[in-house]
């Protein structure tokens, strides 16, 4: 860590991990409700658990991205953050807003929450991921503006590297793409069309730019490979993201009431969407092979190398599986989508967040890297979580296949609930891997509670004595 003001990233990272735990707890409850529909009913209906699970995901990822920005932007700009104080105030505002949101979901009936918060004046509630009451949405915009002001001012007064320009630029994109959350027309088809500006715009567009910037930064720092080469790769990767992904949004428009030409346009362009992820793998491993030094933080390197592979599997492969219109005709709105969502969100975004946390947290705690004991715990957590998420994905895909054959493409289609009963075994498998994911998360968190740092002499002696 080269600049004192980078310290402000620490509370963001810690809060991100805390919210991550919350997300997984709600995930486990939701998974149980698939198996036992009366579990915690009526205290916690499924929709409340579901929105808590998805909203915590978004909040913890944003928390981690913001922490990453406050850590990376000063380092890249080679200057102190414009206002560390503002960054800290923003942190508390964002954390409080996140906590109030989840608590209001849990303790206030949704209709009442809408009535209390002026939803009748400007309706925004009742859409996936965007369930937050109006004042919270306004708060999110204010937090984003504060972040943008702070990092942009830092960028202006300092060195303007490509990594920094891409990172700050994509944070602007993130904020702008949230604004359609305030556009909720009465025409449901138009509303769905615009909802994807936020959702697709974030996860299949702008966030991939953030992912590129973060991975580029980590690899520059850890491998010592020439910045020019890395930044050139990142530009090509994010170019492919937007070239494929902008019109690729059409894969959300096939069967929702939009014109039929999206069936062709969406299929062609979204078939290209795996390309940036393939390039990301090629780039990461090429950079790894050309490394000029051995960084002692093995765990961070594991996260950094795991991210492109898992992102490719989740976003690239599982995304491709459901993206072509003739295939999607039979599996649109089934557990196939949930399978893809889980592996893509984890592989691309949770893992890049954990990668930057893994790289930055030891530095923020005054160490180059954690001791090998701590790193072993962290890497065990990595394997537990990653393999468990693959298990969850396969289980949900299995449930999707049951729906495909018994309901969607059946001669004599069964009803929804009947089919869900037939898929029960897969929901059990999903819950099993959910528990093992949670175990992995606890193992990962344990790694933060070891004192001491990585010591070359010690590690060398141990390695030689084996």
């Amino acid at each position: 860590m080269n600049y004192q003001s980078q310290r402000v990233a620490k509370p963001y990272f810690i809060a991100a991990l805390g919210l991550f735990v919350g997300q997984i707890v709600f995930g486990l409850i939701a998974g149980l409700q698939y198996l036992n529909g009366t579990f915690l009913f009526p205290a916690l209906p499924f929709d409340v658990v579901h929105m808590s699970h998805t909203n915590l995901l978004i909040v913890w990822l944003l928390m981690a991205f913001m922490g990453a920005a406050y850590f990376i932007v000063p380092e890249e700009a080679q200057t102190e953050l414009y206002s560390p104080k503002l960054a800290l105030i923003t942190f508390w505002v964002f954390l409080a807003a996140g906590a109030v949101t989840i608590l209001s979901y849990l303790f206030v009936p949704y209709t009442q929450l809408a009535a209390m918060t002026g939803n009748a004046v400007l309706p925004t509630m009742g859409r996936g991921y965007l369930e937050q009451p109006l004042p919270i949405k306004v708060g999110i915009v204010l937090v984003a503006l504060s972040l943008l002001f702070n990092v942009t001012m830092t960028l202006i007064k300092g060195r303007k590297t490509s990594i920094n320009i891409i990172l700050v630029g994509s944070l602007w994109g993130l904020a702008l793409l949230f604004l359609p959350a305030f556009y909720f027309p009465q025409d449901t088809v138009k509303a769905s069309f615009g909802w994807w500006w936020v959702v697709h715009g974030w996860v299949e567009g702008d966030w991939e730019l953030i992912l590129g910037a973060l991975l580029g930064f980590i690899l520059i720092k850890m491998t010592g490979v020439d910045r020019e080469i890395i930044e050139k790769w990142i530009y090509i990767i994010i170019a492919m993201t937007l070239i494929s992904g902008l019109v690729g949004i059409g894969h959300h428009y096939y069967y929702t009431g939009a014109p039929a030409y999206w069936i062709w346009l969406g299929s062609i362009f979204s078939a290209l969407e795996p390309i940036p992820f393939m390039l990301l793998i090629a780039f990461s491993f090429k950079t790894l092979l050309q490394r000029r030094r051995e960084h002692p933080n093995k765990a961070a390197m594991l996260w950094a190398m795991g991210t492109p592979i898992m992102a490719f599997l989740g976003a690239g492969l599982w995304g491709f599986m459901i993206t072509l219109a003739p295939v999607q005709y039979y599996i649109h709105g089934t557990q196939f989508t949930a399978a893809h969502g889980h592996l893509a969100f984890f592989g691309a975004y949770a893992m890049i967040a954990l990668a930057i946390i893994s790289y930055a947290m030891p530095l923020l705690r005054g160490r180059t890297a954690n001791s090998m004991v701590a790193q072993r715990w962290e890497m065990t957590g990595f394997w537990f979580m990653t393999l468990s998420m693959i298990g969850i994905t396969l289980a949900l895909t299995g449930a999707g296949i049951v729906t495909l054959f018994l309901q969607r493409a059946a001669e004599d289609p069964m009803g929804f609930m009947q089919v869900q009963d037939k898929a029960r075994v897969f929901f059990w498998i999903r819950e099993f891997f959910g528990v093992s994911f949670f175990t992995g998360l606890l193992i990962y968190l344990r790694s933060f509670f070891f004192a001491g740092e990585y010591e070359y002499a010690n590690e060398m002696k141990q390695a030689l004595s084996k």
Partner: protein, 141 residues
């Protein structure tokens, strides 16, 4: 090779590609917005349908159900439920929840009055007439 293909060229491909396809997308989106009101019969968005839609959103129906495949996958598709079940069944069903059957997925009771049930049903009827390119494949959704 690396000298021939510079970072500036990579950046220009990014900016040019993003800009070009953004413009293409915006033109297509504009055209879609002209066609959507015809495809979904927006003229039929009566006050009753809109009241029903407001109830639908503020009770977070898509927190469990899907509409044209979008939402959560815990409960049945509602885009075509009007055609699958008909108005009387729908009203009776919503009114009778929760079933309380042990282990079965539960739908809360939203305490709708008769007018509200009519509004929700009107909205579901409007949904069922959207041109969704023949989706879902069959009436089960």
């Amino acid at each position: 090779m690396q000298q021939v293909f510079t970072k500036a060229m990579a950046r220009n491909i990014f900016l040019g590609g993003a800009g070009f396809f953004l413009i293409i997308y915006l033109l297509l989106a504009y055209d879609s917005f002209q066609q959507i009101p015809i495809r979904d019969h927006a003229v039929n968005l009566t006050p009753s349908v809109l009241r029903g839609k407001y109830l639908f959103d503020t009770n977070d129906c898509i927190g469990c159900h899907t509409v044209n495949g979008e939402g959560a996958y815990y409960a049945p598709e509602l885009g075509n439920v009007y055609k699958r079940r008909g108005p009387e069944f729908i009203k009776a069903w919503i009114h009778a929840q929760p079933s309380g059957a042990p282990g079965r997925r539960q739908m809360p009771n939203f305490h709708f009055n008769a007018d509200q049930l009519n509004d929700i049903t009107a909205y579901l009827q409007w949904l069922s007439n959207i041109d969704t390119n023949k989706w879902p494949p069959n009436i089960e959704g």
